[in-house]
């Protein structure tokens, strides 16, 4: 055996041992999908992708895990800038307008079958982002959610309570369900101090973040009401503000609920299956309460195709997206996780199968969509969220700084950020206008 052959042989053996990164099979069009879920949801997505790869001979989708949403998004943006981005990824809703206006996203309206996709209107952002506006389709809803309340069924029964339907009832229930005594104190209520839940509170108090005329009001007085509710609950020790930032805080909330340290929590519908499967008590899902009205934001991510990817990869990515939006896949994803079914066909499939009778908890988020608020098409909203609002919410709740003062400050800063003609609430075309302001 020549030395070179020996070397090649041992290299190959080494490669096999190490398990090289999955490569695209010969003859298939490869598509990388950058994704950002952990744990159970990740396993389900990988199973779905494997099923797709087996279902047809032409395309091979390769899922690549990229950390949490923010990390994946950061990666995606640097990769786009460097021309090293994949053809397919998914991003949080708030950032879609920004990416679209920067010209990064592929318009999908003219791809075959795009007209037939029948999304649940509030999940596809009908009216502001998708069809119904003059704007092309750039993002397909994927893992979409709303915030919901989860209650510890055992404690609720002991206290003979119903899920709270108003802010006052929420306060009372938190008082009744919590216990400060004994070896294991328990919080009545827990909720991440996060922009998403604050937006829900603002809506419930009758406000909205951006007015229909495009003015950034941060809900006006309703914005303050939301913060004040949190401050009262925390001051009276009825609510625990979970430590940690971003998703760290969300995880703490789940953990406290499962361990019986919090009787009632608000978090995403996305955790429904996880909480049900790991709780040692009956988990009861309930809609969020109202103040002056009922309202919830939607959340979660959208699939996007990157414009600079090669044509055949983009076409292959699109084929995969069509497959993912078939009722069967939509249903598997929704029932396996707790996310909402995004197409009307998927919803009717679930209804004909009687799924919601058996799983009333799954129905809660879907019913809540009646009162869902749509996100405006705003280029800089994600920036306002991260830089202006989020730190001030933490500050208000953790240090007790006056809510109205902080929100005034936030409004002034955010307006400077947004500029005057930044927001187009519904119909105007965005792709070409106002490019000058896009950067920073």
């Amino acid at each position: 055996m020549s030395r070179r052959a020996w070397l090649a042989g041992s290299l190959a053996a080494g490669g096999a041992l190490i398990g090289c990164a999955e490569s695209i099979p010969k003859g298939r069009q490869g598509v990388d999908l950058w994704f950002s879920y952990g744990g159970k949801n990740r396993q389900l997505l990988e199973r779905l992708v494997a099923r797709y790869n087996e279902s047809q001979p032409a395309i091979w989708v390769r899922p690549v895990f990229q950390g949490d949403y923010f990390e994946c998004l950061a990666k995606l943006r640097t990769a786009v800038a460097a021309g090293a981005a994949p053809a397919l990824s998914h991003v949080v809703g708030e950032v879609v307008p920004y990416l679209a206006e920067a010209g990064v996203l592929e318009p999908l309206s003219d791809y075959p079958g795009a007209g037939e996709l029948d999304f649940v209107p509030s999940l596809g952002q009908a009216g502001t982002w998708a069809r119904g506006a003059a704007r092309p389709l750039v993002a397909l809803p994927f893992n979409r959610s709303t915030p919901i309340a989860y209650l510890n069924g055992k404690l609720l029964k002991e206290a003979r309570l119903e899920p709270p339907r108003s802010w006052d009832e929420l306060t009372e229930a938190a008082r009744a369900l919590g216990s400060r005594s004994g070896a294991a104190p328990r919080w009545g209520f827990e909720c991440p101090i996060d922009w998403w839940f604050w937006v829900a509170l603002v809506g419930q108090a009758g406000g909205q973040i951006i007015e229909p005329n495009g003015e950034l009001s941060l809900g006006g007085e309703a914005g303050a009401q939301g913060v004040l509710l949190w401050q009262r609950l925390v001051r009276d020790r009825l609510m625990r503000p979970p430590p940690g930032r971003d998703y760290n805080a969300w995880e703490v909330v789940n953990q406290d609920f499962l361990a019986g340290r919090a009787a009632m929590i608000w978090t995403s519908t996305a955790f429904l299956r996880y909480l049900e499967e790991n709780a040692r008590f009956p988990v009861l899902a309930a809609p969020l309460p109202k103040h002056t009205r009922r309202a919830v934001p939607t959340g979660g991510t959208f699939f996007v195709v990157l414009r600079r990817a090669p044509e055949d990869e983009k076409r292959a990515a699109w084929e995969f997206l069509r497959w993912m939006n078939q009722a069967e896949q939509s249903v598997d994803w929704a029932t396996g996780t707790g996310y909402l079914p995004v197409t009307k066909q998927a919803v009717s499939l679930l209804e004909t199968r009687g799924y919601y009778q058996e799983h009333p908890n799954d129905r809660v988020a879907y019913d809540q969509l009646e009162v869902a608020m749509t996100w405006p098409w705003s280029r800089s909203l994600f920036r306002v969220q991260r830089e202006v609002i989020q730190p001030r919410l933490e500050q208000a709740v953790l240090t007790g700084t006056p809510a109205r003062e902080l929100l005034d400050e936030a409004r002034a800063l955010a307006r400077r950020e947004l500029g005057s003609s930044e927001v187009s609430p519904g119909t105007s075309s965005g792709a070409s206008s106002g490019r000058r302001e896009v950067a920073e």
């Binding site: 990164a21 990388d32 950390g67 990769a79 955790f271 996880y274």
Partner: protein
């Protein structure tokens, strides 16, 4: 009697360092229900390998470890290869611009990676090198610190030795790469180990430079175990942590003497 009391005191101090490690190992042998139910129970109910299996399932661990080792070894080797001739010139040769060259090296001593990654990333991406081993290794080719250290070490080699070698007809290439390294072995070993340990543990650069499993490294993979989605799975994170720490702790156990000498005599 007194010795016993002293040892007890030492143990108490040592526990501040030993207990967190123990806690890491204990946690890695728990199961998800145990973590949720009683996160602070001092002992797991058994020795299930659930968490380790979960780590193996969600990460191509062998691949990550291989990448990490290749990257750290290549960086350390490259740094030494680049630093040796430079250190020789800076410590032994008289030429115009010597002070300036040394100044340039020293000026980069404290520039952290976070300060330079954006242009470097853009540059490497332009030539198709983003997300490759080259992107992980080449930007660390020069270690200002290594150059500085080897310059000091070579400074203690008597000039006469080099003159004698020149008389014997040795080429400069041989002097730099063949003769001198043998005279400063402890410094080379020390620097090699420090470079290796530093880059083995590096988190930031692989975080921003890599995009898939082909080149991802172990610390990155373990940090990814704390992935968002459902809830913290500390038993899995700690199992990953055990696997990440074992190789360096092993190296430390074997080569502790070199490392300590390096720290104390050279002020690393």
């Amino acid at each position: 009697m007194r010795r016993g009391a002293v040892n007890l005191g030492l143990l108490a101090v040592g526990l501040v360092w030993l207990l967190p490690y123990a806690w890491m190992v204990v946690t890695s042998f728990k199961t998800l229900p145990e973590i949720v139910e009683a996160p602070t129970a001092p002992l797991p109910s058994g020795l299930p390998l659930d968490a380790y299996q979960e780590v193996m399932r969600s990460l191509p661990l062998g691949r990550y470890l291989f990448n990490t080792l290749v990257m750290s070894l290549l960086i350390a080797a490259l740094q030494i290869a680049v630093a040796l001739p430079a250190a020789y010139a800076l410590s032994k040769l008289s030429f115009r611009g010597r002070g300036v060259a040394f100044g340039l090296v020293v000026a980069t001593l404290l520039i952290p990676a976070q300060v330079r990654f954006v242009p470097v990333f853009a540059m490497l991406a332009d030539v198709g090198l983003a997300n490759t081993m080259t992107a992980l290794v080449l930007p660390f080719g020069v270690s200002a610190f290594g150059t500085f250290l080897l310059r000091q070490a070579l400074g203690s080699v008597p000039t006469q030795v080099i003159e004698a070698a020149r008389m014997d007809g040795a080429s400069e290439l041989y002097i730099v790469f063949g003769m001198l390294p043998r005279m400063i072995v402890p410094s080379l070993v020390a620097f090699f180990m420090f470079s290796f340990i530093y880059h083995y543990s590096d988190y930031f650069w692989p975080l921003v430079m890599t995009a898939d499993d082909k080149v991802r490294t172990l610390p990155l993979g373990v940090a990814l175990l704390r992935e968002q989605g459902t809830g913290v799975r500390w038993h899995v994170v700690m199992a990953g942590n055990v696997l990440l720490s074992l190789p360096v702790l092993g190296l430390f156990a074997v080569a502790q003497r070199h490392l300590l000498r390096a720290v104390t005599s050279r002020g690393l």
